[in-house]
């Protein structure tokens, strides 16, 4: 049997952090999270992040027609992220690269250190991590940076292919090497 970590798919890591929200703070936190998109996601400043989400889990959904209520005792904040590399350095980056957003979000949670910053916040997030069972990544061996570079080259090549039609032989080769030749 494989000993692969349940959180790893290729070179990417699937992180899940559960933190209980301080009673009475759910609406405020929800409003803060929903407003993040308006100014651009702070996660764009954590460059190893492929996909990530924050959500408020008020209660476990109850299957209709059953009585299997499972009270959480209060709402939880769930943060998940698919990123490149290891979790330790990622949590460090999360706390260092977006300190204001991280503090504003997790300071609404029970047990969060005050101030919500640096090594103490990182340890708090680590402590509240829950392992995945199984993680899937469609292109898990490609980093965010490599994907962005490849997407950029693809777009530039498509553009160049159109422009190249009107170039003479000498110009085409020269222009190609200028655009795509090894640095």
């Amino acid at each position: 049997m494989s000993t692969r970590s349940p959180n790893i798919a290729g070179s990417t890591y699937s992180l899940m952090v559960w933190t209980p929200i301080i009673p009475g703070r759910e609406a405020q936190l929800r409003s803060l999270l929903e407003g993040l998109a308006a100014t651009g996601s702070p996660l764009a400043q954590v460059p190893r992040t492929h996909m990530a989400r924050w959500l408020v889990v008020p209660a476990m959904p109850v299957p209709p027609g059953t009585d299997v209520h499972d009270p959480l005792g209060g709402p939880f904040l769930l943060f998940t992220s698919n990123f490149d590399g290891d979790v330790d350095s990622y949590l460090h980056e999360l706390c260092e690269l977006i300190p204001d957003a991280a503090a504003a979000i997790w300071s609404h949670c029970v047990g969060c250190p005050q101030p919500a910053a640096g090594a103490a916040l990182k340890a708090y997030l680590h402590r509240n991590q829950v392992d995945s069972g199984f993680a899937f990544a469609a292109y898990g061996d490609a980093s965010v940076q490599r994907i962005r570079t490849a997407l950029d080259k693809r777009e530039r090549l498509a553009d160049f292919a159109v422009r190249a039609q009107d170039m003479d032989r000498a110009t085409r080769r020269k222009a190609f090497l200028k655009e795509f030749g090894p640095a």
Partner: protein
């Protein structure tokens, strides 16, 4: 019994560009606590089992987890151990919510049974409508969703990665090509590269 149709759209907060997210929690039957860890171990040991999902080429990331207890942070948190195990599922994919469900139930029918049969009230993947309702009932909406390359689908990303390798090789070779040989090589490269553009 006729049940109302579910909304087949995802709320804007679950969408980033062309990528949509779903987050789901389903309560497990008694045997799910044993079966799901077995499924996870099997899937990790033999990832080829998910080849069909991989070939669908619209799911970028997905993860499953069995939640039996939550990290404890002291008062006022009151709950640590849950009454029932819950299956957590999250996925990022291209296209609409309805397309995801439709493609999944039709192509991944066996896999759907494997991953969802231990969930209470799982109706089976087909017909699609009851399964759509099952998903909607157990879904929790995202408050903030981020994607680093929101306009790129899985197919585009894979094409770009494959193209980059070919482009870099051709660029390296083109350096040493005489001017009169470049045109033919360029045409051949472009013919090959077209499927990735």
């Amino acid at each position: 019994m006729s049940l109302p149709a579910v909304s087949i759209d995802a709320p804007p907060s679950n969408v980033a560009g062309r990528t949509t997210s779903i987050t789901l929690f389903t309560t497990q039957k008694w045997w799910g606590r044993f079966f799901m860890p077995f499924m996870f171990t099997t899937s990790r040991a033999a990832p080829k089992a998910l080849e069909a999902m991989d070939k669908l080429s619209f799911i970028s990331f997905a993860s499953w987890s069995l939640i039996r207890e939550l990290p404890y942070n002291g008062p006022p948190q009151t709950v640590r151990r849950l009454r029932y195990p819950h299956l957590f599922f999250e996925v990022s994919f291209n296209g609409s919510w309805a397309q995801y469900i439709d493609s999944s139930v039709r192509v991944l029918t066996t896999g759907m049974y494997s991953f969802w049969s231990s969930s209470r009230t799982f109706p089976g993947p087909l017909p699609a409508s009851p399964f759509q309702r099952f998903f909607k009932t157990h879904e929790v909406d995202t408050s903030h969703y981020y994607c680093a390359y929101p306009e790129a689908t899985v197919t585009i990303v894979r094409s770009a990665l494959a193209l980059e390798e070919r482009l870099d090789m051709f660029a390296h070779r083109a350096q040493n090509l005489p001017e009169d040989a470049f045109d033919a090589a360029w045409d051949a490269f472009l013919e090959d590269a077209q499927r990735f553009l």
